[in-house]
Symmetry: C2
């Protein structure tokens, strides 16, 4: 592996299953990183500087990996999936840049965010640049199907982000509304990333749809486990502190479930700390107590497991292969992070 931080792929001891998948597409991932580094260049120096900051922070590259591995599982032997995986990562990166501006976040992947370092202006514009560059790369690839899938995904992601804005401090958010939001905001890019693997391989629509289902379900599971971890991760390796979402007044599934099941006093608690953002010492402990009382973390994890099971089933139609095994591993990886 390259020692350049921009091409380094993070791995923690808990990531064994992810490691196996990474090993399978290692060479292609190195080429994806090379495309990313090449395509984020611009005569306008601030653009690669700022892009490198976020891309250089690594991340697990789960989304581009989905494109690579699903392409390979579908029997694709060409090179187009490498550029398209880079497109997926560019769209993801653009979303993160805009997200951090919207959330006024200071930390991402354990480093200061671009907006914390450069203010809000540059990240908005560099996000626009990376997004445009992703479309330029897709145009160079030449598949209108891929362009359709990723432009649809981008519109849906933006819708999901706006939904999140509207439900951000509303503890009365219904479970269905919450799922609609994370299917759009988080799962849609997983869905698109997996689907285009089948498209480059020229597989029939039904295969593409099955991979889209796999991606969507794994994306939802991924988000739900994230939600659960925020109220209970023992392991600091995930770079997230317990209670971050809580401190931000973010509505996540554990809160949605606990609010729905809660009594009047508990609901008033959630409304004070989430809707009005009035938090005092001891509130996080109280929140954890209420969540435990309603088994809200457990219920969140169980819903993630159900979606993981659905993701596994979506792969039934594909013949056994190392790639298919790695994609099943990825489901386990998503879920096992919670334990």
């Amino acid at each position: 592996m390259n020692a350049d931080p921009a091409t380094r792929l993070d791995a923690t001891p808990a990531d064994d299953r992810l490691d196996r998948m990474q090993a399978l597409v290692r060479d292609e991932l190195v080429r994806v990183n090379a495309v990313i580094l090449r395509e984020m260049q611009s005569p306008v120096q601030l653009i690669p500087q700022l892009a490198r900051h976020l891309v250089g922070a690594g991340g697990k590259r789960v989304r581009p990996m989905l494109t690579l591995i699903s392409g390979r599982m579908c029997g694709y032997e060409g090179e187009r999936h490498v550029n398209l995986a880079a497109c997926v990562e560019f769209i993801h990166t653009a979303t993160l840049l805009h997200d951090d501006v919207v959330d006024a976040s200071d930390l991402r992947r354990g480093r200061e965010t671009a907006n914390a370092l450069w203010g809000n202006k540059a990240p908005v514009l560099v996000g626009d640049f990376l997004f445009s560059r992703a479309f330029q790369l897709m145009v160079a690839d030449g598949s209108l199907d891929v362009l359709r899938i990723l432009s649809n995904a981008s519109a849906v992601i933006a819708e999901g982000e706006v939904m999140q804005l509207m439900t951000a401090n509303d503890s009365t958010t219904a479970e269905t509304a919450y799922f609609a939001m994370i299917e759009a905001k988080t799962a849609k890019l997983f869905e698109a990333a997996a689907e285009i693997g089948a498209v480059v391989a020229g597989r029939p629509e039904a295969d593409a749809k099955a991979l889209a289902t796999y991606g969507r379900d794994i994306g939802v599971a991924f988000q739900l486990i994230d939600d659960a971890l925020d109220y209970g991760a023992e392991d600091a390796a995930f770079g997230k502190t317990v209670g971050d979402d809580f401190a931000d007044g973010k509505v996540t599934l554990p809160v949605v479930l606990a609010y729905a099941a809660g009594d009047g006093e508990e609901r008033r608690f959630w409304e004070r700390v989430i809707d009005h953002g009035e938090q005092r010492e001891g509130d996080l402990a109280r929140a954890l107590q209420i969540l435990r009382r309603h088994d809200a973390i457990g219920a969140t994890i169980r819903r993630a497991e159900q979606r993981g099971e659905a993701a596994r089933r979506a792969l039934d139609r594909f013949a056994a292969s190392r790639e298919r095994a790695a994609m099943l591993d990825l489901v386990d990886f998503c879920i096992e992070r919670a334990y």
Copy 2:
């Protein structure tokens, strides 16, 4: 004309020449507005609400008009140019939304900006949505050439915006750097808008390039006249107050030229008011005096006239037609705003 503010096209007495062009594509513009209103819909209510605010503020629709009229001048008789003109306007609108967040502007087209009304978060995300929607519409149109032109334009516009960020408070900005910036930030979308008219009409590359040149030159002229108007418009009809750019510490061509020609005392003045933003009473009058001493406004208008002349020459290869006459009128419109 429709009385709905979202489909109203502004016209001021000074806009006679623009009127003639609008009259020529009136029916198509009504259809463009219908596409815009239809395509900005989303189940997420805040999106059409916010989009309607900006689209409803009107504007002259110069960019989509360029696509319509150049398509017609090239002999195109179909309907694709209507959807593509809407794409151009969506990209423009997305840029404005992000621009106003970046500039922290309070007013646009004489109304409060989206960010002044909704804060910074929603305009960033709704901009992303409109941008994605533009690409969805292009994919539905199905021309990879159009997708290439507009994805390139979007990347270049973002680069231009970042350039502007870097030169915003630098009165030593060189004339060449300033032109590179406005060719990217402002003129690129004019260029693309005119070029795709030739593409939908299936005209040869040389015609498309001539229209691209026309669009680029008219876009630069448009921006330069804007720069000049900010230091001398007599007419309040343009919705811009004299000295807005100055108050924002924005470097525009008059300042670039006056700085380059200025003596030590004058340069220190520009550095104080533009670079350091330390402005006192009487500074605008002093600025106008220095600009007059170096004929910087006149020189800016003359450069605009040169670009206008180049735009006219680019149309030489096309046979005389009402459309060509209207496109020549548009050049005059751009320049005559200064008088």
